[in-house]
């Protein structure tokens, strides 16, 4: 097999998450490409949780709909997940609790005494290792491949624990080999050997901030953003910086603004509710032309909504949520790799244009794990924009000068200067102001300063504001998406192409300012355009309508039930909508 889909499920608190970690770490070390997604709920212990890991010999950007092996620690896991199983799939279920195979389940069904074996070895949590061992038997792999990972993971718990876990692994393996006859193994094709990283979008963002020279993060915990602060609090002190957990999101955002004003790259990260609270602060950053980067890891809304579920419903709020009008950039990466590089760019854009930049991800990208090419420091750069260093300050009492922080220059981008700099004294205010930052209410000044600010992004764009996969000049279909649906759209596209359709795919990275001129030709060329997004109102579709129209040719695929959009599902939904006849060949 070139790819395998494996899932483990049970109750929250049973160690499902770390089992998924160990399992995928093993295949990562072997050199496979992985993609993992965790289904969990908003409670600490109890409640069904599962992790699905997809293993492949080539790059993948999404989990998929199918399942080859399901490890179930309880009946609930079977009932919730068995429909995903392939005909030849396996259910390995804990014997405890007398599990039953659903009547309409074609997969193979093997109750295995996971708990019993683990208990015999001294601790019930080791049933996880037993399950990994059992999986090895089915994949015809030596369980010893997990030994170094177990050693690494349990290092701090001492040798005995390590040995017991290795034992549990072995016994799971042996049990299957011994008890299941005939055992039809499903061996994986060998992987390509090359260096890879395996990490979540949030970890990539964390790495990106460090590479960008960011030294301060201010944040308030919230799912699914908290990981970023938890990662950075371990790393930033090594670079003299830190993470401050604030009293709320308003403090987080305004502190980040204060730090940026002080001359340090600083940011905050949150999710929907936190972003709603930051709207006033974002306006302040825009008005005072203070750079600030804000990460929004989208989750299910509205309100507290579905905190542990996937959604894309904050697009308009990110672009238009603050009162009044400011220049602002919204970037939406779609892979872990993009998350890293886009984070660095977010800091560059924020400083170059002296504006708030929102890095918009979604739960699937932020918490899901992906194999990716190793990030390259050389591919990043640090561009801080116009900063005035030490100057000849007017020292003479009569002639104290103010620095023209908001000088009316044609580009709209005036020089910044950091407090502490001689000759740079100026005033900063969220009130309309003149070139030195003094509050001024005159109509003339107002218009000039407003135009100045809005000019900054008049011609703004980024390198590849969208990712494109172009398969034809006049395609039957143009698929447009953003964020983590990329993998699903790519795979659906491939299947459509294999069925003879000509399909192009644009994945938007720059949501605002919207790259309308660049996108237009692709839309004009397409017979039918399907805009794919995980929200109910079609926010990207509305954005496209607003900038470009194409009302007659645009169709929407929306999903807003909290689960990720998967390749097969998407393929079938697209097929059901195709209006154009495919090109006869």
């Amino acid at each position: 097999m070139r790819q395998l889909s494996w899932k483990i499920g049970g109750q929250q608190g049973e160690g499902i998450e770390s089992t998924g970690e160990i399992f995928s770490a093993g295949f990562h070390k072997l050199g496979y490409f992985l993609n993992a997604y965790r289904h969990f709920s908003s409670r600490i212990k109890g409640g069904h949780t599962n992790i699905k890991v997809r293993i492949s010999t080539k790059p993948i950007y999404t989990i998929n709909d199918d399942l080859d092996i399901l490890i179930a620690f309880d009946q609930e896991t079977i009932d919730i997940n068995y429909r995903e199983l392939n005909k030849n799939g396996f259910i390995l279920v804990d014997l405890k609790g007398s599990p039953k195979k659903p009547a309409d389940c074609p997969a193979r069904f093997y109750p295995i005494p996971f708990t019993k074996i683990a208990m015999n070895l001294g601790n019930v949590v080791m049933k996880n290792m037993v399950a990994i061992g059992a999986t090895c038997a089915i994949l015809d792999l030596q369980p010893s491949m997990f030994k170094p990972i177990i050693e690494d993971m349990f290092q701090h718990k001492g040798n005995t624990i390590i040995q017991r876990n290795v034992k549990a692994l072995q016994e799971g393996y042996e049990y299957v080999q011994r008890e299941i006859h005939p055992l039809q193994t499903i061996p994986l094709a060998p992987p390509k050997k090359e260096q890879k990283m395996y990490l979540t979008g949030n970890e990539a963002i964390g790495l990106g901030t460090i590479a960008a020279g960011c030294r301060l993060m201010f944040a308030y915990p919230i799912t699914p953003a908290s990981d970023i602060m938890e990662y950075l609090i371990k790393k930033l002190p090594k670079f003299g910086g830190t993470v401050i957990q604030t009293e709320d999101e308003i403090a987080a955002c305004t502190m980040a603004i204060g730090a940026n004003y002080g001359g340090v790259r600083a940011f905050t990260a949150s999710s929907g509710p936190g972003l709603s609270l930051m709207m006033e602060s974002i306006g302040l950053a825009g008005m005072t032309e203070t750079p600030v980067v804000i990460v929004n890891t989208q989750r299910g809304g509205p309100s507290t909504g579905l905190p542990t579920k996937q959604e894309h419903s904050d697009v308009f709020a990110m672009i238009f949520g603050n009162h009044g009008e400011i220049p602002k950039v919204v970037i939406a990466p779609s892979t872990v790799e993009e998350a890293f590089y886009d984070t660095v760019e977010a800091f560059n854009i924020a400083e170059e244009y002296q504006i708030p930049v929102i890095l918009l991800t979604d739960l699937q990208l932020s918490l899901g794990k992906q194999t990716t090419k190793p990030f390259k420091l050389e591919r990043t750069e640090i561009r801080r924009g116009k900063i005035t260093e030490e100057m000849e300050g007017e020292k003479d009492e009569k002639n104290k000068s103010y620095f023209k922080r908001y000088e009316l220059v044609p580009s709209g981008i005036s020089n910044r200067v950091f407090p502490g700099t001689r000759g740079g004294i100026h005033h900063v205010t969220g009130v309309e102001h003149d070139e030195t930052g003094r509050p001024v209410e005159s109509a003339l000044n107002r218009k000039k300063q407003m135009d100045k600010r809005m000019t900054k992004l008049q011609t703004f764009t980024i390198q590849s504001p969208f990712v494109k996969k172009i398969y034809g000049e006049h395609p039957d279909l143009l698929l447009i998406g953003f964020n983590s649906t990329r993998g699903a759209i790519e795979e659906a596209t491939e299947r459509l192409i294999s069925e003879g359709y000509v399909v192009n795919h644009l994945h938007i990275r720059l949501l605002h300012p919207f790259p309308k001129e660049e996108i237009k030709p692709y839309m004009e060329a397409a017979k039918q355009i399907i805009i794919i997004e995980q929200n109910a109102t079609g926010q990207l579709k509305n954005l496209i309508h607003m900038h470009l129209g194409f009302f007659d040719r645009t169709f929407s695929i929306n999903k807003y039930d909290g689960t990720p959009l998967l390749p097969n599902e998407l393929f079938h939904r697209i097929k059901g909508m195709i209006k154009t006849k495919k090109e006869e060949t």
Partner: protein, 288 residues
């Protein structure tokens, strides 16, 4: 030598004639001069309100933020550049209504900044509504039959929140206020200074005259020493908070900056942003 004139600019304050805030402004300028600060190393961060305009009236870096958020901005700034002298300032609505949470959390965090509240017991800029500092019974636009909320006690709340420096003054007493601001700036940690700064337009009760007859100096209280938190609390409770001077100081508690593990001694703003290949390699190896 620096003098207070070095901290003057050409802007004419748009406060009403007689507003208490003028003297607060002068006191900050004097304190800065007395401490030998230079304008470019001083930053006045302020909130929104009549009081909030102060950041534009002192020759120094100034950041006039949004209502109630001067303290988070000031703290972010201080984290960025620990060498700056950062003064946060604003009104009683700014600091005790919309910004109250930040005030207490800033006190807990104990960063080395000085916070000056211009307490006029009313909302000036929005034309005379009650503030959390208005006396009960106080008649305003928003309480035509008199306020029925209990006023907040800034000193009690600051002490209860673990403040390491608590002072109170009266804007007429520029000498006392100046020296308290100096001490506040010198204090290694968060300094909370509440200043009775009369609003001559909207507060016809708590006037200059009223304060003159009601305020008492702690230095006039026998055996008062400002290093005893319980005594401070007791005195504040007994006097209804109508005292001025240094109410409490804890010199032993380290500031946030000093407690923070591995926090750069150099201002972060001077740090080299670029990682070495090695540093980067180490970071990504974890995921390989």
């Amino acid at each position: 030598m620096v003098t207070f004139k070095d901290f003057r600019n050409q802007v004419k304050p748009n406060w009403c004639p007689g507003c208490g805030d003028f003297s607060v402004q002068a006191s900050i300028q004097r304190a800065a001069a007395n401490l030998g600060l230079t304008p470019e190393n001083l930053v006045i961060v302020s909130g929104i309100g009549c009081s909030g305009r102060i950041s534009g009236y002192i020759y120094a870096y100034g950041f006039h933020g949004i209502h109630g958020r001067s303290l988070p901005i000031a703290q972010g700034l201080k984290m960025a550049n620990r060498d700056l002298t950062v003064i946060a300032s604003g009104g009683d609505g700014d600091g005790f209504a919309i910004g109250l949470g930040h005030t207490i959390h800033a006190i807990r965090r104990n960063m080395d900044i000085t916070y000056i509240v211009m307490d006029n017991q009313v909302y000036g800029l929005t034309k005379g509504q009650t503030s959390p500092r208005s006396d009960s019974g106080f008649i305003t636009q928003s309480t035509p039959t008199g306020s029925i909320d209990q006023p907040i006690s800034p000193l009690e709340v600051a002490l209860a929140s673990g403040a390491t420096f608590v002072a109170q003054s009266f804007s007429s007493n520029v000498k006392e206020l100046t020296s308290l601001i100096e001490e506040g700036i010198r204090h290694k940690g968060f300094s909370f200074i509440n200043v009775f700064s009369p609003c001559v337009t909207y507060n016809k009760v708590n006037t200059y005259q009223w304060f003159k007859t009601h305020l008492k100096k702690v230095s006039d209280i026998e055996n008062y020493h400002p290093f005893d938190r319980q005594m401070a609390m007791k005195t504040v409770m007994e006097t209804g908070g109508l005292i001025t001077g240094l109410i409490y100081q804890n010199k032993n508690q380290l500031s946030y900056q000093d407690l923070l593990p591995d926090y750069s001694d150099q201002p972060l703003t001077k740090a080299n942003l670029h990682l070495t290949t090695e540093e980067f390699h180490q970071l990504i190896t974890e995921f390989m």
